[in-house]
């Protein structure tokens, strides 16, 4: 593979990914004005400033960014060098595959830099609307976060469709949390049915800092999230709670590598995925505990549910531990609906279809309920109810 080419399914870390739609897309960035998007954004979350990007480019007319915002737009050239350095030295050395991030770097031209100062608080909504057809190019959104010491940043990131039939997205996020910083990051991927939505996320977490990611993947034809978190300082913490539903002939693939590179670091990882109809799902959760990461504590719970005859799912925990003084728990299951639970609900008079929907709902809610921002959780639940599971009266019930 060259520096700027797509990976292939022959690579173990990419074997579950449906790379074809992205490969078919024109590799150049979408030219501004290449499409006429239909922008329908959810109500602005209370207390948040809003940034909107259409086909990877900032759209001021839809944005309500604050005058004193800690976020600002940079040209790629201004950010690119620092970025490449981070990837190559800090993170790239760990053997993580950044080929898509490099493609983003080679073709994108805007970077949103979010840099709350030491002790600052900020709430930012990022809405990436993709609409241009793949033949018009690929969207390359790029976000860098430099969270100051003790700052508390809340980011809600949405990837949404805007009318195009088969848009292609290749997003990149680079996050650096300094000591005692906290980042609550909720991401929702709900692109149009034919979209391919790829992203690479790296996070560097310093001492006592906490990175909490909630990721819900629902849309698109093919998606892949590549996540790499380095717990670089003592008592750094990562929470990754992810939910994905693959219906129709969707393919969702998540690869998450979390590296414990300092003592007393903690990870909580939970994935719940439902594959239905001919949907395919994969979650690879790799956990590395380095020699010096004494008293590291990691917990992985990966579960997938199959509800269609043509559905496929894989949940793979991987542990690499180089020290004895560590607490690491992991569990992974792939299966059908629990027959005992189903019978219990039937015995209470629920229709079979309702009981099945209820159990699927409960399963995915394990992860979705971790989205603590109530209006966002409601938004996600409504999407799930409208597109996948129809649990009569359950939305907003948790």
């Amino acid at each position: 593979m060259t520096a700027h080419s797509l990976p292939t399914n022959r690579d173990e870390n990419w074997r579950y990914t449906n790379l074809r739609p992205l490969a078919r897309a024109r590799i150049d960035a979408v030219v501004p004005g290449a499409s006429e998007p239909r922008i329908e954004l959810p109500t602005l979350l209370p207390g948040y400033e809003r940034w909107v990007f259409i086909d990877g480019r900032f759209a001021a007319e839809y944005s309500t960014n604050a005058a004193d915002s800690c976020a600002r737009l940079l040209s790629f050239n201004a950010a690119g060098e620092a970025l490449a350095k981070v990837l190559d030295s800090e993170i790239g050395g760990a053997g993580v595959d950044f080929s898509l991030a490099r493609l983003n770097g080679a073709h994108g031209d805007e970077v949103l830099l979010i840099a709350p100062a030491d002790g600052a608080e900020a709430r930012i909504e990022l809405n990436f609307v993709v609409t241009a057809p793949a033949s018009a190019g690929t969207s390359y959104p790029r976000v860098q976060v430099h969270a100051g010491r003790g700052s508390h940043l809340r980011i809600v990131e949405r990837h949404l469709g805007g009318g195009g039939a088969d848009p292609a997205v290749n997003a990149a996020f680079d996050l650096a949390l300094r000591a005692d910083a906290q980042l609550d990051h909720c991401r929702l991927q709900n692109c149009a049915d034919g979209a391919s939505c790829f992203d690479t996320l790296t996070a560097h977490v310093a001492e006592r800092a906490a990175y909490r990611l909630r990721a819900v993947t629902l849309g698109g034809q093919a998606s892949r999230s590549t996540i790499f978190v380095k717990l670089a300082g003592r008592e750094a913490r990562c929470e990754l709670f992810a939910a994905a539903i693959a219906g129709r002939a969707q393919t969702h693939d998540i690869f998450a590598e979390i590296e414990h590179a300092a003592p007393a670091t903690t990870t909580r990882e939970l994935f719940r995925g439902i594959a239905t109809e001919r949907g395919k799902l994969a979650f690879n959760g790799k956990m590395i505990v380095r020699e010096n990461a004494h008293e590291a504590d990691s917990d992985q719970s990966l579960k997938t549910l199959l509800t269609g005859n043509g559905a496929e799912a894989a949940a793979r925990p991987q542990l690499e531990i180089y020290t004895d003084r560590v607490r690491a728990r992991h569990g992974a299951t792939t299966g059908k609906l629990d027959e005992q639970m189903l019978f219990y609900l039937l015995s209470r008079g629920l229709e079979r279809a309702d009981a099945q929907a209820l159990l699927q709902w409960a399963f995915i809610e394990d992860a979705v309920s971790q989205v603590q921002l109530a209006p966002l959780r409601l938004e996600i639940e409504k999407l799930i109810a409208a597109n996948f599971i129809a649990p009569d009266g359950l939305v907003g019930h948790s």
Binding site: L346, L350, E351, F363
Partner: protein
Amino acid sequence: MNLLKIENLTASVGGKKVIQGLSLAIDAGEVHAIMGPNGSGKSTLSYVLAGRPGYEITGGSVQFEGRDLLSLAPEERARAGLFLGFQYPVEIPGVNNVYLLKAAVNARRKAMGLPEVDAYEFLQMVRGKMKLMQMDESFLSRGVNEGFSGGEKKRNEILQMLVLEPRLAVLDETDSGLDIDALKVVARGVNSLRSADRGVLLITHYQRLLDHVVPDFVHVLARGRIAKSGDKSLALELEQRGYDWVLEVA
């Protein structure tokens, strides 16, 4: 017409004959207790009545208010007014108790051609029943049986029964694992449901529940059939003499 009429029922699980020619009739207004040693088929009987998959009916019949119970799906049986109180209620994280209660009530109402229950009135009704069962209101928003103690699960079964107001309640070892105070609460719940138009089938291992819910009839189940029937005094006799003498006679 009997509320429940079981005639010469035979059933097997995994190829093993467990129920072997069982006959039993329960009329409205009656409380029957079925006792018996481990492995006698008590729980199997309850599952067969509720329609659990994996239980093969090989002979006989079961009529529920004159309908062929065995031809109905589990959910149809429930909506017809049959309730099974589970020996081991399952935990269903993510489905909260109040949702399940409401869904169950509405499923039954729908089957009866009635509109959905009014949310406010429903909650008031449930709160009243919870008070009777000495359950904290926080139970409502918790996942079904999630993290409940054994006693809490059993109380929750009885609460569901009280809310659903079945025509026939089959309670499978609802008393097992309860301390004496919890047993009294559960018994109070069961007694509150007793009425001229309902029946209760108590499946139990021990006599002590029957001190609090006094049955009209006591049956001993042995080797998959009713080996002996009597009144409340039979339970006391079993308590004193064990099951062996019944098995010898059977």
